[in-house]
C-alpha cells in the first residue's frame, strides 16, 4: 500500500498545506472542527450524546491505527482519522449507537479498499455517511437542522473557516462551490417557482459549513490542478442542482459521492496515458 493511504479529510493536512505549514499547523483543521463541535454542542446541543460522537472518533482512530499498521507498516498520523470520526459524529443523526461506529469504520476502510493506482477515490466521511443513508435510512439521517438557525454562529464559522481554508490554499474550491450554489439556486427558483430564499436556505444551515470546508476540499480526493478543482466542484454543485430538482434530500452529499470519484478516475486514467505519450514524444 502506498504512502497515499494516509489520506486526509481536510485540505490543511495534505498536499501543499503540509509543505507550507509547520507541524503544529497541520492540526489547525482538527482544532477548527473540534471548535465547531464544542461551540455547537455547548450552544445548541448538536450532539445527541457525548457517547455517540466519542464512539465515532474512537472507532475511526483505532481503525486507522490498525489498518495503517497492517497495510502501511507504520503508525500513521491520526489527524485525518480524527476528522473523519468527528465528521461522522456530527453529521450522522441516529438514536442508535451503531451507525456512528459503522459510519466511521466504513469511512476509514474505504480509504484502504476503494483504491485505484494507489489513490483512494471517495472522501472518507462522505462515503461512510452516504453508505449508511443508502443502506439504513430507517435508522440514519444526516444533520440538517441543528445549530439553531441564527446568524451569529453562521457568521463566526464561515469567517473562521474561510480564513483557514484560504491559508491552506483551498479557498478557490470552497468559493467556486458557494458561487455555483447561489447561481444554481437562482436557476432552481426560476424552474420550480419557489422563493429564492427557500432555495438558498440550505447553505445557511450547519451541514454546509462542514461540507464546504471539510469535504469538498479534501486534497486526497480532489483532482490536482487548481483549474480542474474548480471545474469539478462546479459539477458537484450542478449535480446537486439536478438532485434537488428531483427532491433528493441529501443532494450535496450524494453529488459529491457521484462526482468526486468520477473526476478522480478520469484524472487517474489521463495520468496513466501520460508516460506513453512521453515515450512517443521522446521517440519522435
Amino acid at each position: 500500500m502506498s504512502q497515499s493511504a494516509e489520506s486526509m479529510d481536510s485540505a490543511i493536512l495534505g498536499g501543499a498545506g503540509r509543505r507550507r505549514f509547520s507541524l503544529d499547523n497541520r492540526y489547525i483543521a482538527p482544532l477548527f472542527i473540534t471548535f465547531i463541535l464544542v461551540v455547537g454542542h455547548l450552544g445548541y446541543g448538536i450532539l445527541e450524546s457525548y457517547e455517540k460522537t466519542g464512539v465515532a472518533i474512537m472507532v475511526a482512530i483505532v481503525a486507522e491505527l490498525v489498518l495503517g499498521r497492517i497495510f502501511f507498516g507504520k503508525w500513521v498520523n491520526l489527524a485525518s482519522a480524527y476528522i473523519s470520526g468527528i465528521s461522522c459524529g456530527i453529521l450522522v443523526r441516529s438514536p442508535a449507537l451503531w451507525p456512528f461506529a459503522l459510519a466511521s469504520l466504513l469511512s476509514i476502510m474505504s480509504k484502504y479498499v476503494l483504491r485505484v493506482k494507489g489513490r483512494h477515490l471517495w472522501n472518507p466521511s462522505n462515503f461512510g455517511i452516504c453508505a449508511l443513508l443508502f443502506l439504513a435510512p430507517e435508522t440514519v439521517a444526516a444533520l440538517s437542522v441543528q445549530w439553531g438557525n441564527f446568524k451569529w454562529p453562521l457568521i463566526v464559522i464561515w469567517t473562521l473557516g474561510s480564513i483557514i481554508i484560504y491559508r491552506a490554499k483551498r479557498a478557490h474550491i470552497s468559493a467556486t462551490y458557494v458561487a455555483s450554489f447561489f447561481a444554481f439556486a437562482f436557476l432552481r427558483s426560476y424552474i420550480t417557482g419557489d422563493s429564492w430564499w427557500a432555495e438558498v436556505a440550505p447553505i445557511t444551515g450547519p451541514m454546509y459549513q462542514l461540507f464546504v470546508f471539510f469535504m469538498i476540499t479534501d486534497p486526497k480526493t480532489t483532482v490536482k490542478s487548481k483549474k480542474w478543482q474548480c471545474i469539478v466542484v462546479f459539477f458537484v454543485a450542478f449535480v446537486e442542482m439536478l438532485l434537488r430538482l428531483n427532491h433528493v434530500v441529501h443532494a450535496p452529499l450524494y453529488a459529491l459521492f457521484l462526482v468526486g470519484p468520477t473526476a478522480m478516475l478520469i484524472e487517474i486514467w489521463l495520468e496513466s496515458r501520460r508516460p506513453v505519450v512521453l515515450q512517443e514524444s521522446n521517440a519522435t
Binding site: 446541543g45 497495510f71 466504513l106 449508511l132 439504513a136 446568524k151 427557500a198 445557511t204 434537488r244
Partner: protein, 598 residues
Amino acid sequence: MTGGKVAKVILIVVFVALLAAPVVFKRLAARREAANTVRDTASALARYGFYLEEVGQTSSAKFTHQVPTLDKQLDHIMPQVASMGAGVSVVDFDRDGWPDIYVTNSGEGSKNALFRNMTDGSFKDVAADLGIADVNQAGTGVSMGAIWGDYDNDGYEDLFLYKWGKPELFHNDAGQKFSRVTDKAELPEWVNANTAVWFDYDRDGRLDLFLGGYYAEDVNLWHLSTTKMMPESFEYAQNGGRKYLFRNLGDGSFEEISQKVGIETRRWALAAVAADLRGTGNTDLFIANDYGISELFFNDGKQFREVGKDTGVGFSPKSGMNASIGDILNQGRYSIYVSNISEEGVLIQGNNLWVPREGTTGDALRYDNLARAMDVEIGGWSFGAQFGDLNNDGTLDLYLVNGYISANRDLNYWYDFSKIAGGNSTIISDAAHWPAMDGRSLSGYQQKKVWLNDGAGKFVDVAQAVGASDLYDGRAVALVDLWNRGVLDVVIANQKGPLLIYKNNVTPENKWIEFELEGSASNRSAIGAEVRLFWNGRQQVQQVSGGSGFCSQNQRRLHFGLGKNPQLEKAEIRWPSGKVETIEKLSIGQTYKIKESA
C-alpha cells in the same frame, strides 16, 4: 498468495460484510415483525390477551373533524399550518356512571360534539342542547382541545376549551346545561393554545389551570399582519406563545400568575402533563415543546423552577408533541413519554421515554431516555400517546397515533420541508418563504403503534395484529372504560378524519380493578390524587390527570390490570391535600368509588 494480499482480501470481505450488515439486519427484523403479526381476533386474544374492534364509524358517535381556512397568505402551506385541532376528552358530565366523550372541531362554524354514553353501545350528541357545540364561530377562533375539571367543587365537571382564539370556560349546571363563564373567569382575549392542564398547584383544594401558547398570542391566523409568524428555528425557537397559570380564587374568577411563580417561556408548547414526579406532594409540570427542548418545572409549593437541563429532559431539542406519564416498570415512579418526528432517511429524532434513573429522587431526580432500549422510539410523525393496561396483564402499554398530512400518496413534501427547516431564522420564520405544498403529503398514511409492555423492559408493537389498522392523521388519544367492563377502550381524534372508537376485547383470564375518587379537602375531581396498588408482591402507581397526551384527557377513573390469579394486598391513596388512606380487603373485578375522608 503473499501475506499482504491475504490481508487485502480479508479487508475487502469485511468491508463488503459491513456494507451488507444493515440490510441483512433489516430483513431479519422484518421477518420477526411478520412472525409477530397475526391476522385473526382469536389468535390476537390468545397471543396478546386482547384485540380492538373499531365501532366509532358504525355507531351513533359519527364525527368528522374539519380544518380551518386561515389567512390567504398561508394558502400555499395551509395543510401544514391548519394541522391541529382534533382533540378528545373523556368526562362523565351528568354523573350517571357512564363516561361520555367530548370532541373538538376546527372549521369555522363547525360544531364540537359531546357524545353522551347511552350505555347500550350507542351515543347521542348532546353538545348543542347543552350549549357547548357552537364554539367555533368566525372571529372567535377554533377549538384545539378541551379539558374537564370541577373548578368550583360542586360535583360536576366543568369544561375548559382552548383554541387558537378566545379560550372559554363553561360551568356545568348539574349536568343539565352549560353556562359560559369565561368573562367572570377573566381569561385572556386571544391565545393560540394547544395544551392546557387542570391541577391544584398550591394544594388549596381548588383546581388551577395551566394554558400553553403555541403561536404567539398577538398572531391572528385569520388576519395576519405579517407572514413572519413561523418558528425562528426548527429546533431552538423561542418566539412562540406565552404560558399562563390561572390561580383559582374560589369565586369563579382566576388570577394569572405565571410570571409571579416562575413559569416564563415562549417556546412552542404542544403538550403538558402535571404530576408529582418527586413524591413531594406538590404537582410538577412537564411541557413538551415543538421546535425545541422540553421543559420541566419543579413545584416547590408556591414557586416553580425550570430544571429541564438538570434532570436531563431538556437538552436535546426535538419536536415534542405529546406528554404522558405512566409507571411502566411497576416501580412506583412515573416515566414520561414525549413524541417527536422520525422519517426514514430524512429526520430521525426518535421519541423520548424519560425513565427516572435508579437511585435518584427529590431534587436530584434524573431521567434517562430509554425509548430505544425499550423499543418505543420510532413512531413516524408521532402525535398523541397514552399509557394504559390494554390487556389487563398488570403492566402499562402504550398507544401512539401518528401521521401529519395525508394528501397525495405519490407526492412528498419532505424535500421542501427539510430545505427550509435548515435555513437561517430570517428565512424559516417567514411563511412567505416556505415552498408551496401543492397537495403533497408530509409523513402521511402512517401505521399506528400499539406497544405492548412485556414487563421485562421491552415493548412490542402489535398494532396490526390486534386491529389498530387505520391510517388517518391521528392527533389525540384517550383511554376509557366506555362500557364499564373492566377494560380500556381507545378513542382517537383524527385531523380532518373520523372519530374512532376502538372497543377493546380482553381475555377474561386477566383480572382488573378500578378506582373512582372524589376529593373533599382536595379538589372534588381528585385531580392529582394517586392510587398505589400492591398485588402479587408488586406495585403500580397511577394518578388522576387533568389532561395529558396531545389535546386529550383520559377518564378520571383509574384502571389497573392485574394479570392472572392476582392476590390483592392493598391500595394506598394519596390525596392532593396530603392525606393518605389505605384500603385493604380489595376484590378483583370491582370499581371502588372512594370519597376522601373528612
